[in-house]
């Protein structure tokens, strides 16, 4: 028994159709990315305004805005934001490039796989944050330690998802490439990399948020600038509103970065016919 929805109202006389109930997510609407966060913000505001959320539990959104203004004018918030971004971006860049290169090496050669895959899986089961004491011993408490930690923490998801995407490429395409007498470099460029791209982009989404996670932790160590530094100071002086400013900034970083990756993915994966649409 098929269930058929009522036909939508005909736009003009003579358009009569039967329309199936839609099972996919349907058409996209504008600004869809912002609806969820906006709802959270509305609930937060309503809670604070009605007194359901006490200021001691969570600062109200408007107090956060005030604290943001104070930090911006009196404490060089922009400088903190920029140095945090620079740290996360350089660590992420190193991690992403290394992870992708290792994934291709290990995905395309058995020798590479036996050398690379094991150590990465072992590294995966050791929380990077637990390695920080060791990194401090190796690199000191300066910028190198912070960037290495962020790089390592974002390398793993890139490696795992790119490798998985690469190995998921239909073997028949490799066969086709063989019959077309492709060189290995051409094969990597035209078959392996595009085929692994969906996996890589998924890894990228994890890597971006992981890099922020790493940022939060490393900035607790001897930072003289950065959002983490701001939070650490606020903690010492008991300024909850400033802590929330830091958290909100981390959240905005993460959400914007993730959205950027998703929008990129939608553009570069236009060849796919999926529910993403």
């Amino acid at each position: 028994m098929t269930v058929i929805d009522k036909a939508p109202p005909a736009s003009y006389e003579g358009d009569v159709r039967v329309v199936r109930r839609r099972l996919g997510p349907g058409r996209r609407f504008r600004g869809a990315f912002w609806v969820g966060p906006a709802v959270v913000l509305v609930i937060w505001s309503a809670g604070s305004a009605t007194g359901l959320i006490k200021p001691a539990i969570l600062t109200s959104p408007w107090d956060v805005v005030v604290a943001f203004g104070v930090q911006w004018t009196d404490h060089d918030l922009l400088g903190d934001i920029l140095s945090s971004l620079a740290r996360a971006a350089s660590g992420l860049a190193i991690g992403v490039i290394t992870g992708a290169v290792l994934a291709v090496l290990s995905g395309l050669s058995r020798a590479g796989e036996s050398l690379i895959d094991g150590p990465i899986q072992i590294k995966r089961s050791i929380p990077t944050l637990a390695l920080i004491p060791l990194f401090i011993a190796w690199f000191g408490i300066g910028q190198e330690m912070k960037i290495v930690t962020i790089a390592l923490i974002s390398l793993v998801p890139i490696y795992v998802h790119t490798h998985n995407g690469l190995r998921g490429i239909d073997g028949r395409y490799a066969e086709l490439a063989e019959t077309l007498d492709l060189r290995r470099g051409e094969f990597v460029r035209h078959v392996v990399l595009p085929g692994a791209l969906p996996g890589f982009l998924l890894g990228m989404r994890f890597a971006v948020t992981s890099s922020l996670l790493g940022l939060v932790v490393v900035e607790q160590y001897n930072a003289t600038a950065g959002i983490g530094h701001m939070i650490t100071l606020a903690e010492q002086y008991g300024q909850t509103d400033v802590i929330v400013v830091g958290l909100v900034i981390y959240g905005i970083f993460g959400y914007c970065a993730d959205t950027a990756v998703r929008l990129t993915a939608r553009r570069v994966l236009a060849w796919r016919q999926t529910l993403e649409g």
Partner: protein, 239 residues
Amino acid sequence: MATDTRGLTTAPAVSVRNLHRSFTANGGVLNGLDLDIGAGEFVALIGRSGTGKSTLLRALAGLDRDVAGRGHISVPASVSVVFQDSRLLPWKRVLDNVVFGLRGSDANARGRQALAEVGLAGRERAWPFELSGGEQQRASLARSLVREPQLLLADEPFGALDALTRIRMHALLRKLCEAHRPAVLLVTHDVDEAVVLADRVIVLDGGVVRTDVRVEPDRPEAELRAFLLTELGVEGEGR
């Protein structure tokens, strides 16, 4: 061993001698097969499932490096394969698929011309998923022919198409082969297709050539068809 090279004055494009291939220790798929295909000759290979048609084609295509066996194969320098699935890379537009791996600065121009030849002019920028099954297979034919192969290997290229599309593809393939004159080995399970397209039909059985007949213009098609069906062992099954 019925290897027919009558009427051929030049050296054969394809020569296979005493070819053995087996996937298991007991019992081979190909058991000492001999075959010659002349330059520009269109050979159809038919046979029941498991008689080694695809194994032979893959051996000629050089795609059986992991299969045990021995024998002697010689093929031309330029070989193209048309698979049953069109095997277009989903992340490349149609033209980029056609010229995929093609070298030379005029590659794109040649690709456009090949697409026009198979009736896909104007679809150069389409993604493969936007094409119908028949159009995808035509694009894959264009990809093979743009390389001007001396040998075209086709493994049931029309098997996944509907009957009407298949008839149109037959006409297209004949036209293309007359224009480009590659030697062709077409694996099919469709006797009608073999009779309509080929100059010569080979029936494979037990990993060797069982029958090798020329499609003579003066021989009634119905009679040849009946003969081939008998050779395939489906005589009197309501055909």
